[in-house]
Each structure stands twice: as structure tokens, then as C-alpha cells.
């Protein structure tokens, strides 16, 4: 904050600073605030912006896909099965039932994004709630909540996801429920450690002394200071969630045919790896690209937020 003022002042009076000419200039430099700074730094990060643009594009395709697919994604043709990429009618080829690949990939982005992002969103809300409560209240509440969370950490996440959705049975709803259960403990642990870190800070004491109720302190002082780091952590989970959600469909535990979803498409096209390997690999390319975009955007967001000092 002081750098531009000093530079301006130095230009004015040849390097000699006096308290008098700092104060009026300082009034003209509006602070961007924390999030303003984060946004400013994020915009100047080309990798994060590229990744963000790609995510935005996929989201747009997902929203608009029912109206913009070049062909009917459900209509198959036994005579036009497994056309190659670059076909005059089927630009990205056709699948094992003769359905247009590009249309199915476009419509597939809807379910893939939905089952990948939703668990992280729900887990962000529930996990933050548990973690902030445990961290702020401390004592026995913390012990009971965090030891319960530890139990879920004893399962590798892929195993937990598959165990839960295997027991619950196949389906979109069940796969979202099981992935949410996988991410809640991870987010809760981060939320707890961030909250414990700020609990003893002076501004919390100041708020208490000023007579703020515990609920107000939780909402203003605590939430305002912990949501950022928890959010960044949650965005880093989206990529894993996308891979796992499509993985569940790949195993036959998520989306059911004939709905197009990238993981499920990859599974049904496994029979075609000899006849048409490029088309068979396409749905995986989509999962990979979206997952890498989420990872890079999350990395950029984390870097942009490291501006405390």
C-alpha cells in the first residue's frame, strides 16, 4: 500500500518524505480488500485464466447441450456403428450403437459435471459446518467430532466411495451421497485446523469484549476468516471428485444407460478398443481435460490467496 505513495511523493519533492504529504494522498488510494487482491492476481495468472475459461466453456456446453447438439444423442443406427473420427456426418465418430459421439459427449458433460461437482458443494457446506463448530467450540465437542472424522480417514477415499455406493446400490443419487461422505471428513479436518488457528486471535477476544454473541462471532469473525482457505481446499477436490464420480459410472455404480455420461460411455466403449480405439478413448479425454482444468484453476486460486504478507 505504501509503495505507490512513496514513489509519488519522491517524485514531488526529490526523495524527502514528510508526514504531511503522505496523509492526503493516502486518502485517494482505495483499498481493494482481500478478495479484490485475490481477483486481481488471479486475472493476471494466464494458466489459471485459461483453465477458468475452459471450465466456463464446458459449463456453457453443459447448460446449452439439449439445444445445440448437432444430432440426436439417443438415436442409434445399427448400420452406422463405430464410425471413425473425421466422418462427414459424425464429426467425432459414432459409438457402439451408432449414436453420434460429439452429441453424446456434449450432453454427457451435464451429468459428468453434475455428479462430479455436487458432492464437493454439499460436502463444503456440511464439512465446513462440522469443522468450524469443532474448532471454535473446542473441548469435548472437538474430541468427539474429530475422532469420528478420523474413522473415515482410515478408509482410502476410492475404497470408501466404492464401498458406500456398492452397499447403497447403483444410481446417480447414491453415487452423490457416497462421494459426499468421502469429502465431508476431508473438508471438516481442514476447516477444524483453520478455525482452531484463529480461535485465540486478538480480534476474537475484541469481539467478545464488545459484547457480540457467540453466534455473531461465528458468523462474522470466524466465518469471514476461514471460508477462503476452506473454499480453496474444496476447489482442489473437484478434480478428484470428477474422476471418482465418472469412475463409479465406469464400474456401473453411477449413471445408468442410455443416459450419456463420460465414465459410463468409456465403459460401454471398452468393447470397441480393437475396432475403433480413438473413439473409445474420447470420453476419457473429456474427463481428463476437465479434471486438469479444475486442478490448474485451484492451484492458481491458492497462489493468488497467498498474499497475507
Amino acid at each position: 500500500m505504501t509503495a505507490p505513495i512513496t514513489a509519488a511523493s519522491m517524485a514531488l519533492d526529490g526523495g524527502v518524505l514528510s508526514a504531511g504529504d503522505v496523509a492526503p494522498e493516502a486518502a485517494f488510494v482505495p483499498s481493494r480488500g482481500f478478495w479484490g487482491h485475490v481477483g486481481h492476481r488471479l486475472v493476471r495468472d494466464p494458466v489459471a485464466m485459461g483453465a477458468g475459461a475452459l471450465i466456463l466453456l464446458v459449463v456453457l456446453i453443459a447448460i446449452l447441450s439439449p439445444w445445440i447438439t448437432p444430432m440426436d444423442p439417443y438415436k442409434g443406427s445399427m448400420l452406422r456403428r463405430l464410425k471413425h473420427v473425421g466422418d462427414a456426418t459424425y464429426w467425432l465418430g459414432s459409438d457402439e450403437l451408432g449414436r453420434d459421439m460429439i452429441s453424446r459427449l456434449m450432453l454427457g458433460s451435464r451429468l459428468s459435471l453434475f455428479i462430479g461437482v455436487t458432492p464437493v458443494l454439499i460436502a463444503f457446506v456440511i464439512g465446513s459446518g462440522i469443522g468450524i463448530l469443532a474448532g471454535y467450540v473446542g473441548g469435548w465437542t472437538n474430541t468427539i467430532l474429530m475422532r469420528t472424522i478420523d474413522v473415515f480417514f482410515a478408509f482410502p477415499s476410492v475404497l470408501l466411495a466404492i464401498a458406500l455406493s456398492g452397499a447403497l446400490g447403483a444410481g446417480i443419487f447414491n453415487s452423490i451421497v457416497s462421494l459426499t461422505c468421502v469429502f465431508v471428513p476431508q473438508i471438516a479436518r481442514v476447516a477444524e485446523s483453520v478455525t482452531t488457528g484463529i480461535r485465540k486471535r486478538d480480534y476474537i477476544d475484541a469481539a467478545k469484549l464488545s459484547g457480540a454473541s457467540p453466534l455473531t462471532i461465528m458468523r462474522v469473525q470466524v466465518l469471514g476468516n476461514v471460508v477462503g482457505p476452506i473454499f480453496v481446499y474444496a476447489t482442489s477436490l473437484i478434480s478428484v471428485s470428477m474422476i471418482l464420480a465418472s469412475g463409479l459410472s465406469f464400474l456401473g455404480l453411477g449413471v445408468r444407460p442410455p443416459e450419456p455420461e463420460w465414465g459410463l460411455m468409456l465403459n460401454t466403449l471398452r468393447t470397441a478398443i480393437y475396432a475403433n480405439p480413438v473413439v473409445a478413448a474420447l470420453p476419457g479425454v473429456c474427463i481428463f481435460v476437465v479434471s486438469i482444468a479444475f486442478n490448474m484453476f485451484s492451484d492458481g486460486l491458492r497462489a493468488a490467496m497467498e498474499i497475507r504478507q
Partner: protein, 317 residues
């Protein structure tokens, strides 16, 4: 050190009980009845009750849990509903196959991960650093089941160099350390090694960069130690954390191998879980998950103890 191990054991025991409770409850999360898969649709109420009594499903849940736990502690994981064989035997065979695959993948991941991590950590912001960073993002972002398919497409379907599925030429489910079986191991192990490679490379890079920035490195150089001598000190400081990550990765791979094992039809735990889920063989599902989760708990404990033994500073903290 002994006190530390005892402390960790005291801490792990309730977690282990919690894990057993979760595994037990899995069966009761399942829609319908655990027996619906084996009973004929027109079974009389009498038969159903008889079967329930035989499997102990007629007792209240807490009692069922205690009985189940008692059996588990005596090494009895129950009987597979689909095959009628003891669950323990099925799981043991599968765990051995999975462990072979996961160990080889971890060794590959550790070798390449530390290699890339050291190069990147030593030459921050160089081309090698960028390549290593790109590789680690690739490792954690790639859907490994898709990577497995792509490798099969390239090396089996197109080039014909390696077999696409199975654990050995005879089609039996047991892997043996000979050349023929080794060929079957390559593709699944390489597929699985991508995640640990990325994660270990990322961790080692940060570790090495941190260590190199510390004062003692400068002191070592100031007193005239050659680069190789300094390198040995860096390795010794990075080793505890790097080895700990490797241990945890082995656990993740063992528990998370189901997708890759399905792609390669590898006769391990993933394959067993897949069968258990789709045949709705709940005792088998419960038993395999319990064994895998306990393996992970014990592995975590070993990693903790080993890390403390290598780096006594952790115990004091």
C-alpha cells in the same frame, strides 16, 4: 520411543473399532435384505426365518455387531453368500495379488517421483522443473482407468507387445515371479504408478527446495563440502517425509485399485469387490472392505512409527 508406540496404539484402537462399526453397518445400509440375493422369490416365511436365524439376522443390531466382531477377532469373516466359501480365504488370495501390483506400482512411483522431485527442487524454475510440475499435475488429474485403457489400446491392441488383461498366461488367478507373469504385470503397474509418481514428485520438490534454502546447507558449503556431500545431507533430511508419503501411497493404491483391476481383469481385491457388489454378496463385501481398511490403519501406524524413528524431532513436537 516405546512410549510413543504405545501412545499411537492407544490412539489407533478406537479408530479400528470405528472402522469395524462402519464395515458392519455397510450391510445394513443396503436396500432390501442381505438374503434376498440367495433366497428364491417364492420362499415361504418359514424358510426366510430359518435362513435369518442361520445367519444371525434375527437378533437386534448391537448383538449382531458384537457377535460379528467376536468372530472377526478370531479370524472368521463369515461365509460368502455367492460361493459358500469362507470370506477370509477369498480375501487373502486377492490381497496377495493386489499387494504385488500395488507394491510394484509404488516402487515405480517412488523411483520416478523422487528422481523428478530432486531434479525440480535443485533447479527451481528451470525447464526440468516445469516438466516435473506438469508431470505431477498430469499424475493427479488423469483418470487412471482411462489411462489403463489407452495403454491397452497402444501396447496390446495396436502394437501387440503386451497382454491386455489377466495376471498370467494360464488364466489362473495366481501371480508368479517369472518372465511370462511379469509381462502381465507391466501395464497395470505402470497405470497405477502414475498417481504416486505425481504426488511424490510434488512433495519431494517442495522438500528439497525447503532444505536447500536452510542455513545448514550454506554452512556445509562454507566449510568446503563438495556437492555430493551436501546432496547426502539433503537426502537424509528429505527421506523421512518422502518414505512416509510412499507408505501412505501403498495403502491408497491397495484400497483404490478396484478401477484399474477392473480394466485389466487383475484377480485382486478390486476384482473381488466388483464381484461382491454385483452379486450382492454382502459378507464378502464387508470382509474385503474390513481387511483393506485395517491394512490401511496398520500401515498408517507403521509409517508414523518409522517416520519418528528416522526423525526424532517429530516425537518431541
Amino acid at each position: 520411543m516405546l512410549i510413543y508406540i504405545l501412545k499411537r496404539l492407544v490412539y489407533v484402537t478406537p479408530v479400528a473399532f470405528g472402522v469395524s462399526l462402519v464395515c458392519f453397518m455397510l450391510v445394513h445400509l443396503a436396500p432390501g435384505d442381505a438374503l434376498s440375493a440367495v433366497l428364491p422369490a417364492d420362499a415361504t416365511q418359514e424358510t426366510i426365518n430359518e435362513m435369518k436365524a442361520a445367519y444371525g439376522f434375527d437378533k437386534p443390531l448391537p448383538v449382531q455387531y458384537l457377535i460379528w466382531l467376536w468372530h472377526v477377532l478370531h479370524g472368521d469373516l463369515g461365509t460368502s453368500i455367492a460361493t459358500g466359501r469362507p470370506v477370509l480365504g477369498e480375501v487373502t488370495r486377492a490381497v496377495i495379488n493386489s499387494l504385488i501390483l500395488a507394491s510394484v506400482a509404488t516402487v515405480i512411483g517412488f523411483t520416478f517421483g523422487t528422481l523428478f522431485g530432486f531434479v525440480a527442487g535443485y533447479h527451481r524454475n528451470s525447464v526440468a522443473d516445469r516438466a516435473a510440475s506438469a508431470l505431477s499435475v498430469f499424475g493427479v488429474s488423469v483418470p487412471h482407468y482411462w489411462l489403463g485403457m489407452v495403454l491397452v489400446i497402444v501396447f496390446s491392441a495396436t502394437l501387440g507387445w503386451l497382454p491386455p488383461t489377466g495376471a498370467g498366461p494360464d488364466g489362473s488367478g495366481n501371480w508368479r515371479p517369472d518372465f511370462d507373469h511379469l509381462r502381465y504385470l507391466i501395464l497395470p503397474a505402470v497405470t497405477m504408478s502414475v498417481i504416486p509418481t505425481g504426488i511424490i514428485a510434488r512433495t519431494v520438490r517442495a522438500l528439497v527446495a525447503d532444505i536447500l534454502a536452510q542455513d545448514f546447507v550454506e554452512a556445509l558449503r562454507a566449510k568446503g563440502m563438495d556437492e555430493f556431500g551436501v546432496f547426502k545431507h539433503v537426502v537424509r533430511n528429505a527421506a523421512p517425509t518422502a518414505l512416509a508419503i510412499m507408505g501412505l501411497q501403498l495403502g491408497y493404491l491397495l484400497g483404490g485399485s478396484i478401477l484399474v483391476e477392473t480394466v485389466f481383469a487383475w484377480p485382486g481385491t478390486g476384482f473381488l469387490l466388483n464381484a461382491a457388489i454385483f452379486q450382492r454378496d454382502l459378507p464378502l463385501l464387508q470382509g474385503s472392505i474390513l481387511v483393506l481398511a485395517m491394512f490401511f490403519v496398520v500401515l498408517n501406524l507403521l509409517v508414523d512409527v518409522m517416520q519418528t524413528a528416522l526423525d526424532p524431532r517429530i516425537e518431541r513436537a
